[in-house]
Structure formats: C-alpha cells, structure tokens
C-alpha cells in the first residue's frame, strides 16, 4: 500500500460535507485511489477509474457502505449482485421503463407542481427547495409507490432522516462507527415507515392495485405468493432516500447553476426545450448522488497504479468524476453550452440508476411548470447559495424572488 499523504489523513466528515471539492481536486491530481482513514475505505475520484470500476461487475461486485448497510439492512438493490440483483431489478423496473413513465408522469407531477406554485406565486419570494423542489420530488415518488396517504412533509422528514444515517460514515481507529448516535434518526424513520406501511402491505397482498409497492409484492411471483417484507423494506428505503431526495436536489442545483449564468437562465426560460440539457448540466456540475456507490474487490487488483488486496472496499465519487478536469473544460463552472458528454450522474454498468428516466422526467416537468408560471424568477441575493452534503449534495436552501 502506498503512503497516505497528510491531507488525506487529516480530512474530516464535516469538511467533506461543507465542501468536498478542494479535497477531491487534490485527490484526482495526487492520489486518485486513496485510503481515507476517516472513512475506513478507499476513495476513487477520477472519471476514468470511477467508470471502469462501475462497469466491472466481475472484479468489483457492488456492496454497500457500512453506514448504508446499517441504515438499509441486507438485500437491497445497492448491495446485491448477479441473479439476486437481476430479480430485484425485475421487481422495480416495470414501473420505471420510459414507455411506462410516459404514460403516468404528467398526471403524477403536473397537478401537484401547479398546486404548490399557486400557494406561493403571489408572495414574490420563497425558499424554492422547501416550497417546491423537495415537495414535488417526494410527492411524485410517494404517490407512485402507493404512499399517497403520507403527507409531503412526513416524506421529506423520512428521507432527511434516512439520509443522515446513510452518510454517517465516519469510523474510529478500530473501524467502528465514530458516531453511532447518528443512526438514531434513520432508525426512527424506519420504525415509522414500517408502522405505516405494514397494514398497507396486508391489504395489497389480498387487494393488489396499480401502485409500485403492490406490484413489487406480486409481480413475477407464483400464484398465491407474495414477496417477503424482508425484500420489500430495504428497497423501499433505497427509494425513499435516493429516489425521493435526488430529483429535488437536481432541480435546485440546476436553478442554482442557471442563476450563475443569467443569460443562460433567460434562454432556458424562453425555450423550455432546453430544460433537459440545463438539468443534465446541473447534475453534471453537482451530482446529486455525490458519493454513495461502494464496491468490493473480488480478488487482488491493481487500479490506478495502486495494488488493492481482495476484499478492499472502494467508494466511487461521482460528484468528483463529474468535475474531472481530464473530462471537462472548466469543470467547476455551470455551462449550458458545454459539449454534451456522458457523465457519471446516474452511475454506469449493471447498477446504473433504475430510475434515470423517471428522475429526469420529474426534474423536467418541475422546471417546466416553475418557469412557465414565474418566468421572471431570479436569485434572491440577500441570501447565499449554500450547498451541503458529501454523500448526497444539493442546495440546503435556495432563496428566489420575482416581481409580483
């Protein structure tokens, strides 16, 4: 193993959550595969190596970070491989295929988006994350799953709590969790979720309907059998966290990026067909799932010039890969007109995001409705744009204003 440079030894979770970019810029330059004691695993930071490992299932089966495993439990989509993973994908994918999404997405997202906008459109200013991006994001997926009876604020509370636990990754010198209390919010959320969803599952078992959880229970199962709750819950947590939170992050991040380029914002508002491109660049600029994908070396491997023994755990940092100077010019700038190149935003290989099309559609429709209703939207410069997060990243709040 190579010697760990001091800057890697000294980094803390708090620093990473506040602003991971300077640290990762140095990692890409000096130690693209680096063991980080604060996290107890190797970080992979360049575009090339992230993609290589993401696509290589043979040498690099997917696992889950220790904190992620502690939060979600076993047998979630994220940490299964081979046939077991394929079966779980078969469970969740039918609802997420483009042809399926196209049929329901407008009715799922637009009415609620309009309702939210109507609630604040005459106020002239709002924190758009709290008032719009997160509610639209969670409501869309909540209703799709069958959680239409859970309030938007409760869904937001659940993903915030799961998020805190999932990224509670710090370990001490013995490799034990440095902050075990950090899992309490996630445990509370899970207890509430089970209490709410268990009776619903009882009902779906005998009375299936069009909701995703109902389909997960029944699809592909022999007559008279349904999938075990042990399979349903870990994957429900995956959805409640990543899929609920991230379209909201993507929407807010895209807005923040466009606010940094007012002339590009103007063009996108005038021509809604540019919204998908604007959102893709937003998600390149600050990847919503910034640093959450973990893989394990199935055998001794050499990657990026570093020898790793079998069993080594690496974390792929898509947020860093998306700002790799070898792949993108001026990578830290938001630029709508940047040549379109693939990014790592939705991962790669067999574990690439199953909800890519769904998420893009939610973000697109959310921004279409917002720009149509408030075409004079601008950044409220009385507040700073405050991005936060290392595992998942986006503006904590984003204050906007407009003339009324």
């Amino acid at each position: 193993m190579t010697i760990t440079p001091d800057f890697v030894n000294d980094i803390t979770m708090e620093q990473l959550e506040a602003d991971p970019y300077p640290f990762y810029e140095r990692l890409r330059k000096e130690a693209p595969v680096a063991f980080v004691p604060a996290l107890g695993m190797h970080l992979v930071s360049t575009r090339e190596l992230c993609e290589q490992i993401a696509r290589d299932d043979e040498n690099w089966p997917a696992v889950i970070s220790a904190a992620g495993g502690r939060t979600f439990g076993p047998a979630a989509l994220l940490n299964t491989n081979g046939e077991e993973h394929r079966e779980l994908r078969d469970m969740v994918e039918p609802h997420l295929q483009p042809s399926a999404v196209d049929k329901y997405i407008d009715n799922l997202v637009r009415p609620f988006a309009r309702e939210r906008i109507a609630a604040f459109e005459n106020d002239g200013h709002v924190d758009i994350v709290e008032a719009y991006c997160e509610p639209v994001s969670v409501r869309a997926l909540g209703d799709l799953l069958g959680l239409d009876d859970v309030s938007t604020d409760k869904l937001r509370e659940w993903f915030h709590k799961l998020s805190v636990s999932f990224t509670n990754a710090a370990v001490d010198e013995n490799g034990e969790f440095a902050n075990p209390e950090g899992f309490r919010p996630g445990d509370e959320a899970k207890a509430e979720i089970i209490a709410h969803v268990d009776p619903k599952i009882d009902k779906w078992i005998t009375q299936p309907d069009h909701t995703a959880i109902s389909h997960w229970l029944h699809d592909g199962m022999p007559e008279g059998q349904t999938r075990s709750r042990d399979v349903i819950y870990p994957n429900l947590y995956v959805f409640l966290l990543g899929a609920m939170q991230e379209p909201g992050h993507a929407m807010a991040t895209t807005l923040a990026g466009l606010f940094s380029r007012p002339e590009q914002l103007e063009r996108v508002i005038d021509d809604p067909e540019l919204i998908p491109r604007a959102a893709a660049e937003g998600m390149r600029w600050v990847a919503p799932i910034w640093s959450a994908v973990v893989k394990r070396a199935a055998r001794d491997v050499t990657v990026g010039g570093v020898d790793l023994p079998e069993g080594s755990i690496v974390m792929l940092t898509y947020g860093s890969a998306n700002q790799d100077e070898h792949a993108y010019d001026a990578p830290s700038q938001y630029d709508l007109d940047r040549p379109v190149k693939p990014t790592m935003t939705f991962g790669a290989g067999k574990h690439a995001c199953a909800g890519t099309y769904f998420a893009n559609a939610v973000v697109r429709i959310g921004l279409e409705e917002l720009f149509e209703a408030i075409p004079n939207l601008e950044l409220d410069t009385d507040h700073e744009v405050d991005f936060w997060g290392w595992g998942f990243r986006g503006p904590k709040q984003l204050f906007v204003k407009w003339e009324v």
């Binding site: 508002i269 005038d270 720009f371 209703a373 075409p375 004079n376 407009w402 003339e403």
Partner: protein, 346 residues
Amino acid sequence: MADKYTVRVTGQDVDLTVGEDQSVLDAALRANQWLPHSCTQGTCGTCKLKVLCGEVDHRDSPEYTLTTEERDSGLVLACRVTPRSDLVVEPMGAVDDGVPRHPLRDHEGTVVVLDDIAAATRRLVVELDEEMQLNAGQYAELLLPGTTLARQYSMANPPSETRRLEFHIKLIEGGAATEGWIFRSLSVGDRISLRGPLGQFHLVDKTDGPVILIGGGTGLAPLKSIVQHALAEDLAPELYVYHGGRREVDLYDVEFFRELDARHDHVHYRPVLSEQDWDGATGMVTDAVVADFASCKGMSAFLCGPPAMVAAAVKALKRRRMAPKLIFKEEFTVAPPVPDVDAAAS
C-alpha cells in the same frame, strides 16, 4: 451531378424531390410537407435538421447560425442546404402540432394600391392571379425584378382575402427592394412576382386568455391580419393592440384600429409614441404594456418589430408573468449582405 435528389424526412411518409440548388425547406413547403422554419434566410436557426445519411452543400449557411461543430455533427439549415446526394433527414423538434399548413407557391399579381401611409412607409396591395391560402400572421417573399433577390414582408390582410395581399413597407436607405424599387419605380398596374406563404408566426386556434399584440413600425402588418382574423372567427376574449412609433407621422391605420376599438368592446387599441408628446401614450411601447397590466398570467402575446423591441417586449411580458411559450415573436431580420445591402421589413 444529378439534377434532382430524393430527400426522405423521418416521420413523414412522402419522399421529397429536391432540385439542384433548391433548398430542402423550399422543396418541403412546396410539397406541403411542413418543416419548422421562421426567417428562411439562415439567421434564426429554427429550421435545423439532422442529416442521417447523404451528402450536402451548406451553401451560404452562416457560421453564427450553424457552427462548425454543428455541421460536423450532421446538422444543417433546411432553408439554406441543398443535397449533393439522396438524403435522409430528421427534424429537430416536433413537426405536427395540429396547425393547418398551406403549401408554398410561386405567385404572380398586379399592384392595385401603392399609397404613402406614414413617414417613409407605403401600403402595397397586390391582386393575385390565383388564390393564396395562408394563416393570419404569415409572410411572403417579393421577388425583385431583374434580380435573384427576394425580400420578406408580412401580409396584413386576413386569410379570408386570398386574392388581395396587403403589405406595409418601410423605406430602407440604400435598400435594393425599397429605395431601388418600391419607392422608386413601382407603380399601380405593375406586375409583381412573389412566393408564399412562409413562417410560423400566426394565430390559428381559439385562445382561452386575452391576447396582447405589440407592433413596432411596420411590425403592425401581421398583427392587423391576426386581429381581423381573430374578430372574424371569434378567437380571443380580449385583443390589446399596441403600436409603437417615434412620432405621430410614423403611425398609420390609426382610424382603422380606432374604429375597431369603438365597435368591439373587447378590442383595445393603444398607439404609443417614444419621441413626441401628444394626447396619447408616450414612452417605449413595452413600458406602456408594463404600466397597463398588473399581471399577464394566462394571456398570450404576438410581437413584431425590430429585434430590440421584441427583446424588450419579451422581458416586459415575463416581468408580468406571461408564460414564455405563449409569447410569439417575429423579428425584422437584416437581409443577407450580398450582393446588395438591404433590410427586409415585415
């Protein structure tokens, strides 16, 4: 080199025959195969297509509208490009939006009216030999006699007048079409050649909300067509017509619109002067709109005039929260600089 090539547009079932040195757009519109387009002179980029297969000549496609990078990725401007082999092309946006389309045709006609109506502004009325079907707001290209030049002018007549085309023409200093022809030698009784209709600036369907029309100078022409059509077909609950000029001598058709305003409760006419005090509204026409409306939510707008006026109007309407997709624009565009410098007015 073949005289003709076959061009297949994906999603359309008819193959186009495109002659040597004919643009793909021209061939498509003549065959009544709609392709999105606006200026037809290479400046707006609305007509971009992707060539999936075949060789092309971009001809005079300007670099600022179609970059080298775009050319390398197979994009072309339908209004400029001509095939050098059979082609398969793909439109960049949605093509079928349910709007009625009328084929592009060459027309001949006779000048029946040529009047001075405002400072350096003439009304030209052409009696066509054959009918032209058009949507209210579209334009035609007048062909300059003895040259290969064409200049674009919007029709001010409603679509119901298929044989009688009305144009409003502003004198452009040194302009080949205006100073060199329409304001010099053209006379009532002269024969004239033109082609049309062109463009996608039009009012076709009934609107739920009020419609604001803002014209600068001869930008009033397509708006006059739209207002007459909207009244005849009862297409809009309210029509607000703003006409901007520098001085009173720049305004025209004032009586026409005042009468519409008096006769119809839902027609409102507001001329606005930017450089003369009078008993009407003064200042920039776009500022007048901002002052008149607290909110434009749910309304739509038709804007025609110089690019700066159109840009200011878009800004003003967005400030009043009009949805950008309901703002329709037609800008005066400068004619290509060869071989004569001219500017086309709508």
